[in-house]
Symmetry: C3
Subunit: 333 residues, 3 copies
């Protein structure tokens, strides 16, 4: 049984295979891929794109989806092992997950980072525990460490709208926000781009480093794929040579000081001049949702340079391909 | 691409065509009308009839529906243009709607009137903006100005249970309530009945006038269809000659004074004697939900004169017909 | 038209027939049992197993399900007859249920016990009223008095994992909890086991008696089936000779004094020594959700003696069989 919760489940070759399969299924939709199969989608956090793109990935291919909001549709779920459960969470994932799996063919889970403890987030304990308890394939809809379907959809979008990924100049730039955000999306962009052999520049203010374990993993992928990763604190220079600029906010290393650190760097707002530094302007990407005029200006988001809509659309194709891998082995045979 | 958010999208001939198509589909259900098609239903407000009748309209005809509660399943959605999004709404409809449309075949939206500003409600900015942003057909599940599927279901019910609509004597009467309610339902009843050529009497206390722009639109339809519209402040007389009495509460023009105005007219409670003034008693209609014994007495709602259940059932057939129009062009060919 | 809301709807022979049909459908799944049929699931309370097992029962057999949370997706529902509805519940079930039924083929309802009034809970007024108002078959997803699909799934699990039910030694033991819980599950275990001819021991502290009307009903079933029912206040002795121990917490007769009474009996925590008193240890069952280390120890729940996962899985098969009975008459012909 295969799971897909982290880019490490695929590795460099697996990333390429899913991208190829997604393009194949985009060109030739196969309406019976998931006939009579049921995906349960368990949300610990809200969603728009992820919810609808996963649900329609099942519905449009002969399957169906059961959508569950933990603690709202279901009981609040306890996840700490060995506790005396006398608080406000009447059911343990140790009971809920094996039971849920008996009714379904695959399980999709969304559980965001807590943000207050970076190392805990990197360890991704909740998702990894669910994965261990599950008796059907588990797919991530974003967890504390990564948002792997987002990373794959990002690369598919670059490949379609800019060109082959090998050596492609991609800049990931931090963006301002009103509050500290998870690192899952920048982590996944970095890991996936590295696995695809891109020439990556990561720009952020001092103190906003990504998690070192993820950086090490990305470096290994880059070495294997022939990619490159550079880091800088200079946003303008980082965008100057880029073919694609990917903006995203994330929390600082010192979360306790986040409010001050965020306020200090509100000038990292992504605006059009950053994209228009070369003869060929850079294309713009963002995973959405985006706070307009806080993270990114209206001018950027409403310009023809923005790829946010096709990028979100590609979530659907990536997820059909990933679910095909988990449920059918991913081949046509 | 066609949308259906207001009666003006159909006009007099279009209203007749949807009613005919609904009757045709009611007589001969076609189980594959929406094969492999997905409707997203975006709710800014709660629902029972609308939710289930739209969802089953897709499910019973080969399609499926994705149900989204804005700000609950999804992020809270900002709709004001050009704002710096530093408040509690992390996603803009300008991003959310185009993305959502990439996954689906049609979009149904419910966004109630705010009530505090009549002219803003009449302008229906949120629904009209969503419609502009959408790349798939949009259908209204009630917005600030109208509830057009309700109006059509009302006319279908009159046609089935009373007879042909031309010249039919229909009375719309205001009813008491514990709080000011939107004008969408009375607006839609009036517009649709006028488009069908009915002989309409609208009864309400002074100060509870419907919106003048809607009255003007209804007058144009009546002129085209050969219908009539009269207004009165006398509930009893208005019901005396009616073949159908349609009760509904709505807010007064001076909303700031609503509590006092509502309390003043609690004697407009719809009760059996109002229906039983002629040899043939009037049939009773209401869109539901209804506050029993505040708006309408138990005696009326539980009497055989009440058409509320078949009226609600007809929502299903109208919506199958309207979705057929949007998704298939509405013809059998 | 048949309903299934209480074990009395089936009687001794009907219970056996549903169990047989569930085993038959488990051995030979029939993917088109509910083709084009729609089940509405109306929840007044949250759910995990019930939600997913009912929804997949429809989805995996060609049908579909519409899931409604009363007061969340829908309006808050009033159920008192004859009231002036000027409170916070804008729709009456007297209007909502007949309307809902026009869109669907069957209606599943979950409405938990209020607990504060035992006799009111036993009378099950809300579910019985819904059943009277409904124009399609109604099935219970747990109401104040019973959780009949749970009881049937429990018996199916015993039959599969321990053996034929006639004379089988089953012990139902009260378990501690942090708050008073409904009696529906112990009621249904008792009624169903009695209908199956089991040799039942019910153990609970003094003051935690089940409802006398239910006890009388169970006694009648036991007499008809050749079963036995004994009661005791000694948990250890009750478990000593059992082949199956079923643990569940429920509220005391004097609910006003529940906190003190619950605290007094925290030593009824189900632990391994209670199961391991004979050469062949007893199997363990619980309907879930379970508060680990309050009701039942981790050691029990994680031991191979526990049947909680197959027990929950059997909810699916029981519900397919019960829905087949309601929608198709339950035969293969």
């Amino acid at each position: 049984m295969r799971h897909f919760t982290h880019i490490a489940d695929l590795g460099v070759d697996g990333v390429a295979a899913v991208l190829d399969r997604a393009l194949e299924l985009k060109a030739c939709p196969q309406r019976t891929l998931f006939d009579a199969r049921v995906l349960a989608m368990l949300f610990f956090n809200p969603s728009l794109r992820t919810r609808v793109s996963f649900e329609t990935a099942m519905l449009r291919n002969g399957g169906s989806a059961v959508v569950l909001s933990a603690g709202q549709d279901t009981w609040k779920l306890e996840d700490r092992p060995g506790v005396r459960m006398d608080g406000d969470r009447p059911e343990h994932i140790r009971d809920a997950i094996p039971v849920l799996c008996t009714y379904i063919d695959a399980l999709a889970v969304r559980c965001f980072a807590g943000i207050s403890d970076r190392d805990a987030d990197e360890q991704d304990t909740l998702l990894r525990t669910i994965r261990e308890l599950a008796t059907v394939p588990v797919i991530s809809m974003e967890s504390a460490r990564e948002h792997p379907c987002q990373g794959l959809a990002d690369m598919l979008t670059v490949r379609e709208h800019v060109g082959a990924l090998q050596g492609r100049r991609l800049t990931l730039t931090w963006a301002p926000h009103i509050k500290p955000l998870p690192l899952a999306v920048p982590h996944s962009f970095l890991l996936t781009a590295a696995a695809c052999g891109a020439d990556i520049t990561v720009a952020h203010p001092p103190g906003f480093e990504l998690h070192s374990t993820v950086l090490d993993e990305a470096a290994r992928y880059a070495q294997e794929s022939g990619g490159m990763i550079n880091f800088t604190h200079e946003q303008r220079a980082a965008c100057a040579g880029a073919e694609v600029v990917y903006a995203k906010s994330w929390s600082p290393v010192e979360v306790g000081n986040a409010t001050a650190l965020l306020a200090q760097h509100s000038d990292w707002l992504m605006d059009l001049p950053l994209l228009n530094q070369a003869d060929v302007p850079a294309r713009f990407m963002h995973c959405l949702p985006v706070r307009r005029n806080v993270e990114v200006s209206d001018a950027v988001l409403d310009s023809p340079l923005s790829l946010t809509v096709p990028e979100a659309h590609n979530r659907y194709f990536i997820q059909v391909a990933a679910l095909d891998l988990l449920l059918n082995g991913g081949s046509d045979a």
